[in-house]
Each structure stands twice: as C-alpha cells, then as structure tokens.
Amino acid sequence: MSAGLTDVGRKRNHNEDSYLIDEELQLYVVADGMGGHAGGGTASRIAVETIDQQMRGAKKAPEDPFGPETPLQDSPLPEFLRTAVEKACAAIFKTAQEDPRLAGMGTTVITLCIKGENALFAHVGDSRAYLVRGDLIQQVSEDHSLVNEQIKAGMITPEEAKHSRYKNIITRSVGFEEEVQVDVMGLVALPGDFFVLCSDGLANLVEDKEIREIVSNHSLKDAPRKLIELANERGGDDNITVIVATMVAA
C-alpha cells in the first residue's frame, strides 16, 4: 500500500523528478534528474522506466527474486535492484551520448522493494529513504553528497550543512557516467512501519521529525500532499516528490 505525489515547487518552472509506484511488485522509485534544459527530466524518466522493466523482467526469469520468501540475509532482491539501477545508468548514459542536447544528464535514484517482511533499498545520490516506526524516524540511505562527505570528515557540522551553498552537489549519480556504484540496504519491516521516499526538495526543507509527525498523523493517502504543502510553505526551492509506503499485512 502506498501513495505518491510530485510537485514542481515554487521556484522551478518544470519538474525533473520522476517516481514510480508498482503495487504488483511493491516496487517504489523516486528519481531526481539534473543536467540541461531537457536532460534532467529525461534522465529521471529513463531511470524509473528501466528499473520497472528490469524488475518485471526479473519476475519472469527462471531465478524469480519475487518467489518464495527468504530470510532478509538470503534475499536475492538487493542484487536484482542493484543490477536494475546499473542498467538504468547505462541506458541514460547511452541516450545522452546519442543526443548532444542531453549530454551530461544524470539522476538520483532511491528504490524500495517490499517482499514479505523484507524491505530492500537501492540508492544513488541524495534522494532519501526513511523508516518511520512509532516514535522513531531513521534515514535508511546515506546521502552521496558533498556536504555529507564534509560532515563525515569533520569539516562542517550537520547544522552548517543545511545552509551550505554546496548542498546540491552530489558525489554519485545515475547516468552521468557509464557505470555507477549502487548502495543496497535491507531491513525487516514490522506491521505499522511506514517508508518514506523523497527527493531533496522535501528533505532540505522539512525536518526528519516533522516528516514522522505528518506520516503518523495523517492517512497514507493524505501524507504526501501534506508533506509537499509544508515544503512549499517554506519556499519550495526545488521539485518535491514523496512516496509513502507501508507493508501490506499478509
């Protein structure tokens, strides 16, 4: 079960974010494209389409990762998700090579696939995945951004990072180069857990605990709209995309 929404925001004139909700596979993707006038939107669109095709193809393949349920540790899904994002990377890169107007485009990708009680993620860039469980909200993905590297190196504090002029610089992206290093994560979901996937248009303007409050206090259907409204109230600097998903009770 899920709900998703994307919004252009208040400052941009077109939306370069794309998202995918595939309830059949319980596959959710948010991609935040960048580069050129047409490039960003194209890159994020190719990313979500390629990932969906790849995962649908995998379901038909002999070693179907959507088959019998496995313990988290033995789940084949992370590797399929990784491959799907790598294919998306190659597809975007190839398209950019063929059309000079799209040269240099790329996109972030945050992917969630829920299978039984396992929630699996693949991630590149600074779009985020959060787990909301009771009073806890935890960012599952680690941003591939310059400011996050600076924080880890002790050069700036997380507080300074929020106002850094470099906060839009990402250190990895899908499609900018032919290959990309994809992070995969997984966790065991509990009934009542929510997963929030979002682009940095939300994460930069809304605090983690505010996301938790809105997701906990609104219906699944309303939560993405409420989150986007809050980000827009605060300036809506960038395109805003949000998916909220929850585990379907077995």
Binding site: L72, Q73, R133, Q138, I151, D183, V184, M185, G186, V188
Partner: protein, 305 residues
C-alpha cells in the same frame, strides 16, 4: 756538676784476665735516659691507637650490614615511587578519557566535539617518574617525590571537577560507549590501513574485533536501535543511537537480536559476530560516530587503561 764529670766503670773478670776500664761521661747517661723515655712514650701512644683501631674494626661488619639494609630499603622506596608514578600516569589517562567524554556535550568549553588526542607523554606510559637509574641519590628522589605529589594534587582537583560534572550528567555517562561491545582480537585498528581486498591505503573508520562466529555482542551504552538490517558490504548492520550525537555501528553480524526503535541498556545482548558482507572471517566492525564523524572507539573505552 760540670758536663765534663765522668765515671769510670771498672770491669773485673773472675780469672786471670785484664781488668777493663770504661770511661763514661755523665752527659751520655742523661742522653741515653732521654732516648729511652722518648721511645717508651711513642710506644704507648701507638699501642693506644692500635687498641682504638681494633675496637673500631669490630664495629665495621655491623655498619656494613646496616648499609646494605639501607640500600635495599632505598631500592624498595624507589620501586614504590615508580609504582606511584605509573599509577598516576594511568589516573591521568583515565582523566583524559573522562574529559574527552565531557567535551561531547559541553558547549561552555567551546570546543569541537570528540575527544582530544592523548599526550604522547602519557600514551607510551614512560614519563619522567618511571625512568630511574641506579645510583640516583636522595636529592633526585626527593625531587621526584615533590613532582609526584604536585601531580597527585593536580589530578585530585581534576577528578573532583569531573565528579561534580558527572553528577549533573548521569545520562551522558550512560550514553557513552565506554565498554567493549565484545571481547576478541583487534585485528584492525582505527586509522589508515591497507584494504584487505584491494591492498589500497584507505581510512578504516572503526575497530575490527575478531572472535568465534556467533559470539555475543552487547550494547556499550544505553541507546535506541535506529537501524537493523543489511547494508551493502557491511552485511548485517546494527546502528544504535546513544543521544548526544553519538552513534555506534556494528557490521558483518551473523544475527541481530534487536529491532529498530527498541531501547537498549548497556550490557544488553544485541547481536552476534559473523562474516556477512565484505568480510574475510568472523569479526565485528565496530564504529563510533560523533555528530557523523568516525572517532577511534578506543578513546571512549574506560575498562582498558
């Protein structure tokens, strides 16, 4: 009597022999008497001196024995002094660690988060109090004692300050990962190392503690589990948030025994050692991050001096 007076000594033999006469001057007689008296005087003085020396010689073994005793006592004192010096060294290091912990949350000190570097002096456990050569005299020993007592006073003040501080900060103390999460061999320390897979020099942001597969891992401080799951090359990963910006991370686990959102106490069993992810044998990758910055976990561990 004039000096020319003289005696004649006549020696008359018993039989038919000539009588012998010896002329003796009186002056000679006096001279001879004086000589004898002088000799006797000298003799008395020497005898007296001799007896006094003999009696002193009797005292000598006793003195030697006492000397030996004193020497060995001195050695014992020197050893004790060295011991006190070492203890003070340890106290100082402990104090530094405690101070490091206070820096985590004390904005008044206006310092960066995270512990300060240990002084090299204390780090190698070899300072001026410990080095002692034989033959160092009492003045040197006295000097050392002065230094030690000054040092002890300083430490006492420092620890009193800390005690007062920690009385206000019990929850901070409970949140600091101050014990080993598991016991084993530290096969790779914090810092720059050669990657076991690629042999490239990379930063190793944690401690690798090796042990038997399935060995229990406990929470080194109170906190909330914020992540329990898979994370790429780290295999099964557990992350505990202890508050005050402190998070601990455990990688390559064979099992995770807590769930995200759960509260844990120091000493609670939270996971088991394993070989999941990019790992060459059963071990735990143990990381401490303060405000996102990886720190040497050893700096927080108080049960190791």
């Amino acid at each position: 009597m004039s000096s020319n007076e003289s005696f004649t000594l006549i020696v008359v033999p018993d039989r038919h022999a000539e009588v012998k006469r010896y002329h003796l001057r009186k002056v000679w007689l006096f001279q001879a008497l004086a000589a004898v008296a002088t000799v006797m005087l000298v003799g008395f003085v020497m005898a007296g001196h001799y007896f006094s020396v003999v009696s002193e010689a009797h005292e000598n073994p006793a003195l030697r024995e006492e000397n030996l005793k004193l020497k060995s006592e001195l050695a014992v004192i020197r050893e004790q002094l060295q011991h006190v010096g070492q203890t003070l060294d340890r106290v100082e290091r402990f104090d530094q660690k405690l101070r490091a912990i206070t820096l985590l949350s004390d904005p008044q000190r206006n310092l960066a988060m995270g512990p300060t570097e240990q002084q090299p002096l204390a780090a190698n456990g070899d300072n001026q109090f410990i080095r002692s050569k034989d033959g160092e005299g009492l003045p040197v020993l006295a000097q050392k004692l002065d230094k030690l007592s000054a040092e002890a006073t300083r430490q006492e003040q420092s620890l009193q300050e800390l005690q007062a501080y920690f009385q206000d900060q019990k929850s901070l103390l409970a949140s600091v990962p101050s014990v080993w999460p598991t016991r084993g061999w530290v096969t790779s320390d914090f810092g720059s190392r050669l990657d076991p897979y690629t042999s490239e020099r990379v930063m190793h942001a944690g401690l690798d503690i090796a042990g038997p597969h399935g060995k229990e891992i406990v929470a080194p401080a109170d906190g909330t589990v914020v992540f329990a799951g898979l994370e790429g090359g780290y295999g099964n990963v557990l992350v505990i948030d202890h508050g005050y910006g402190i998070k601990t991370r455990y990688g390559h686990l064979s099992a995770i025994k807590v769930k995200a959102g759960e509260r844990v106490k120091r000493g609670d069993e939270v996971a088991a050692m394993g070989n999941t992810g990019r790992s060459t044998g059963p071990h735990v990758h143990y990381e401490v991050r303060v405000n996102g910055i990886a720190q040497n976990p050893r700096k927080f561990i108080l049960d190791e001096w």
